[in-house]
């Protein structure tokens, strides 16, 4: 299946990308996707594999590590929010 990933704010700046498409096995969880990103090494490993806190949304709802990503989903990864 194919999903779309969006990066926001500091994460987008550090990773130098705001959006990408990725092919994943059906049933991949959010934690599984994050493991794939960490395997890219470099900034990816530093941002998603270490002590840095980040948040995730699946189809515009806040998501947790064991949530399964549906086919065609819009997944967003971003720093803790700071609005208001």
């Amino acid at each position: 299946m194919t999903i779309r990933i969006l990066y926001f704010a500091r994460l987008r700046d550090v990773l130098r990308t705001g959006e990408e498409e990725l092919a994943l096995p059906e049933g991949t969880t959010l934690a599984g996707l994050v493991a794939l990103l960490v395997a890219r090494g470099g900034d990816w490993a530093a941002e998603f594999g270490g002590a840095r806190v980040f948040r995730a949304a699946i189809n515009q709802d806040m998501a947790r590590p064991d949530d399964v990503i549906p086919a065609g989903a819009e997944v967003a990864l971003f720093p803790p929010v700071t609005g208001g």
Binding site: Q60, M62, F78, V81
Partner: protein, 150 residues
Amino acid sequence: MDVTIRVQEGDFSLAEEYAKLTGRPEAGAVVAFVGSVRDVASGLASMTLEHYPGMTEKQLGKIVTEAGTRWPLSAVTLIHRVGELQLTEQIVLVLTVSAHRDAAFAANQFIMDYLKNEAPFWKKESTGAGEAWVEAKDSDAAALARWDAQ
């Protein structure tokens, strides 16, 4: 419950938004919160607010709906700006209208606490020292936790 939610670059007018909600015979209490760009120790030049279009509106809608299930509200207006903002410019407006002042106060604070933690906005500050993304504060998460106990 009448709900108005807007995410916009332009400024908003507390006076106009308040005027739209007055004249209701059941509305004994209106609480307004306005958050503005305030100075920081390093000397703020300006601030840029980024958001996640689509998710922002969805999350704000959920927060306001949740407030409406917890308190008897007759109207809620929630406006949040994005883009570049200068010192002292308005960022966010929350108006809550109820027959009872405790409900209007509590719902307003609830909406702000959830917005601070769950609405996808990010601030980047530009100061004499350069640009930097604002880090989330633990105090905002603590403020949110008090609502779970209720």
